[in-house]
Amino acid sequence: MFYREAGDFKTSYRADSQTFPIRLDRMGFWAAMLIAYAVVPFVIDDYWANAVFVPFLIYAIAAIGLNILVGFAGQVSLGTGGFMAVGAYAVYKLMTAFPEVPFFFHVILAGGVTACVGVLFGLPSLRIKGFYLAVATLAAQFFLVWLFNKVPWFYNYSASGQITAPDRTMLGIYITGAQTSAVAKYLFCLVILTLVALVARNLTRGTVGRKWMAIRDMDIAAEIIGVNPLTAKVTAFAVSSFFIGIAGALLFSVYLGAAEVGEAFGINKSFLVLFMVIIGGLGSIFGSFAGAAFLVLLPVFLKNVLVGAFGWPTDVAAHLELMIVGALIILFLIVEPHGLAQLWRIAKEKLRLWPFPH
C-alpha cells in the first residue's frame, strides 16, 4: 500500500541511480536524520550518551570501515584493534603537539596516519589470501599494541604508560576532556559518522567499489577483466583503515578520555567490530549501523536485566553475558548468515508485495 515504486517516476539518470529509490525510504532517511540532529540532542543525558549513543556512533564508523575491507573487498582482517590504536595514538600525539589546530583536523589526520599503516600491513594481501591473511593481520594487531606499549615517545613519556586526552575545543565548545557535555560529544561523533557514511556509500557504488567487489568475488577473474589487484586491495586497506583510525581516535579522545593500549585496543576489539560487520551484514552500509547498534545495546540490555531486574552478582552476570552473546552470535549465523541487512531487504521485498502473497 505504502511501500511502492508505483507512481514514483524518475525523470533523470540522477534520480534513477539515487541511494534510496523509493519515496518512503527517502522519507524514512530524512526522518532519521531529523531525529538524530534535532530531537536526540535535546533529550540526551550523560547516561544515554555514554552507555548507548556515543559508543554506537563510534563503533558504527569502525564497522563501516571494516565492512569496506571485509564485506566489499573480501579481505578478512583481525587487526582492527591495532588500527584503532594507531588512530588513538596519532590523535593523541597531534593534540599534544599542535594544540592550536582545531580538533576536527586532528581526527581526520589521525585517520590519514592510520591509512598509511593500514596500507603497509595490507601489502602482504597481494600474496596471502583467505584465512592465512586473516591470521597475518593478527601480526598487525599484536605488533602495534606492543609498539605503543614499549616506545615511550608514543605516550609522551607519561609515568603510567596511559594516554589521556587533553581538553580541546571546537568553535569554543569543549569536545574532549572532562568538561565536555553529552550533547557536544554526541553531535561531534554524529557529524563525523554522517560524513563517513556518505563517503563510504558513494565510494562503494562507484568505480572503486565495483573494483573491490570484483576482487572479492574472484580476484583472478577480476584481474583478467582489467582490475588492478594492487590498487584495488591497497585502496580498500587505505580507506578502511582511514575510517577505523577515525573511530579509534574518537573512541580514545571523545569517549574514553584515557586509554591503555592493551586494554582498550586489544584483540577483543577486533572481534567485536568483526562481529558487528557479520551480524549487521557483509557488504552493506546499513548493516554496519544495524550491527553496531545491536552489539552496543545487547550488553547494556543484558546488564540491566540480569543485574538490575534479577539482582544477580555482577560476576555471574558477566559470565552469563558472555554465554548469551556467544549463543546469539551462533544463532544469528544459523538463522541469517547474511545479517540484519538481509532481514531488512527481505522485509522490504515483502512490503512491496503486501498484501498480495506473490
Partner: protein
C-alpha cells in the same frame, strides 16, 4: 664455548620445548580444519574448558555452584569426595566427546555449505559461549591442576651439562613430559588416520566432502569424531598448560599462540604443526634473547606472527600446506 652461546643454547632448548606445547594446540586446529574446513578458533577455549572440567571433577566441585547459590541463596561448594586423577581424566574425555556431539547437533549441522568466514565466526561465538559456560560451571578463580606430572628442574640434565660444559641447563621436567606426550600423540594420530577404517574415512572427507558422501561415509559421524579427537587433544594441551601455569582465563589465549604455528606449518599438515611449533618456539626465545633487550623486551607476543607473515609472503601455503591451486 662462551657463556653467551651456552645461554643461547639453553634458550633454544627451552624454546623447542615451548614449541611442542604450541604444537599441541595447533594439532587440534589442523585436525578440524583438514576434515571439515572449519577454522576452529574455539580450540584454545576448548583446552581451557577441558582443564577446568578436569580440575572440577578431581576436586569434586559442584557444577554451577555459583549460579545456584545466586539463585537460591544457598552455600554449595564441593561434594564430599575427591576423584583420582586417572578417573577424572577419563570422565573429562567423556565430557569432551559429549560436547563434540552437542556442537555438531546444535551448531555445525545447521551451518553446512556456509562460507568459511561464517563458520569461523561461529567458532568465535562458540569460544565466547564456552568461556562464559566454563566460568559459570566451575567458577572463574585461578585453579591449580595437579595430575601427578613431574615438575621442576630436571637435575640429571643439569648435572650432566654442568660436568660437560661447565654450565647447568635449566630444563623443566614438565616440558620433557609434554614433548614425549606430543610425540606419542602424533604417532597415535598418524597410525589412526593411516590404518583404521575411521581414520581412512576421515582422510577421504578431508580430500573431498562430496566424493566421501557418495561412497557412503557419514559426514556427521566424521565431524563428531573429529571434534571428539580435537576435544581430546585440547584435554591433553589443557593438562600440560594447566600444570605449567595454572588453570585460568589466559589459558584460552594459547590459541593465539598456535595460529602463527599453523600459518608457518600450513593449515592442513600434522607434521607441519609440529615443525612449525618447534621453529616458532625456538625462534621467539632466541629473538627475545638476542634482540629483545635492545628493543624493550616482551617481543614474544608478536614475533611469531611477524615471522609467519614474512614467511608466508614467500610461501603462501606454509611449509607443508597443500599447494593452493586457483582456477577461474
Amino acid at each position: 664455548m662462551t657463556d653467551q652461546l651456552l645461554y643461547a643454547a639453553e634458550a633454544a632448548l627451552n624454546g623447542l620445548m615451548a614449541g611442542v606445547m604450541y604444537a599441541l594446540v595447533a594439532l587440534g586446529f589442523v585436525l578440524i580444519y583438514k576434515s571439515s574446513g572449519v577454522f576452529n578458533y574455539a580450540q584454545g577455549v576448548l583446552a581451557l574448558f577441558a582443564a577446568l572440567t578436569l580440575v572440577g571433577i578431581q576436586k569434586g566441585q559442584v557444577p554451577f555452584a555459583h549460579l545456584i547459590n545466586a539463585m537460591t541463596g544457598g552455600h554449595l561448594e564441593t561434594f564430599p569426595w575427591q576423584v583420582p586423577a586417572l578417573l577424572a581424566i577419563l570422565l573429562t574425555a567423556g565430557v569432551m566427546v559429549g560436547m563434540a556431539l552437542i556442537i555438531e547437533k546444535l551448531v555445525l549441522k545447521h551451518l553446512v555449505n556456509q562460507a568459511p568466514i561464517i563458520l569461523f565466526m561461529a567458532t568465535i561465538g562458540l569460544a565466547y559461549f564456552l568461556e562464559g559456560f566454563g566460568d559459570v560451571m566451575w567458577g572463574a578463580d585461578i585453579k591449580t591442576l595437579d595430575v601427578g606430572l613431574p615438575q621442576g628442574i630436571n637435575e640429571t640434565i643439569e648435572s650432566v651439562t654442568d660436568s660437560l660444559l661447565g654450565y647447568g641447563f635449566f630444563i623443566d621436567n614438565l616440558d620433557i613430559v609434554a614433548s614425549i606426550v606430543a610425540v606419542l600423540l602424533v604417532a597415535a594420530l598418524t597410525l589412526f588416520s593411516q590404518y583404521s577404517k575411521q581414520g581412512r574415512a576421515l582422510r577421504a572427507v578431508a580430500d573431498d566432502h562430496q566424493a566421501a558422501l557418495s561412497v557412503g561415509i557419514s559426514l556427521r559421524f566424521i565431524w563428531v569424531l573429529v571434534w571428539s579427537i580435537a576435544g581430546f587433544v585440547a584435554l591433553v594441551a589443557g593438562i600440560m598448560w594447566g600444570s605449567k601455569s595454572g588453570v585460568q582465563f589466559s589459558l584460552s589465549l594459547i590459541a593465539l599462540k598456535a595460529l602463527p604455528v599453523l600459518m608457518l606449518g600450513g593449515f592442513t599438515s600434522i607434521p607441519g604443526a609440529i615443525v612449525g611449533g618447534l621453529i616458532i618456539g625456538m625462534g621467539e626465545k632466541l629473538f627475545e634473547f638476542w634482540i629483545g633487550p635492545l628493543i624493550g623486551g616482551a617481543t614474544e607476543n608478536w614475533f611469531a606472527y611477524v615471522l609467519a607473515l614474512l614467511f608466508l609472503v614467500f610461501r603462501p601455503q606454509g611449509l607443508f600446506g597443500e599447494r593452493i591451486i586457483e582456477r577461474v
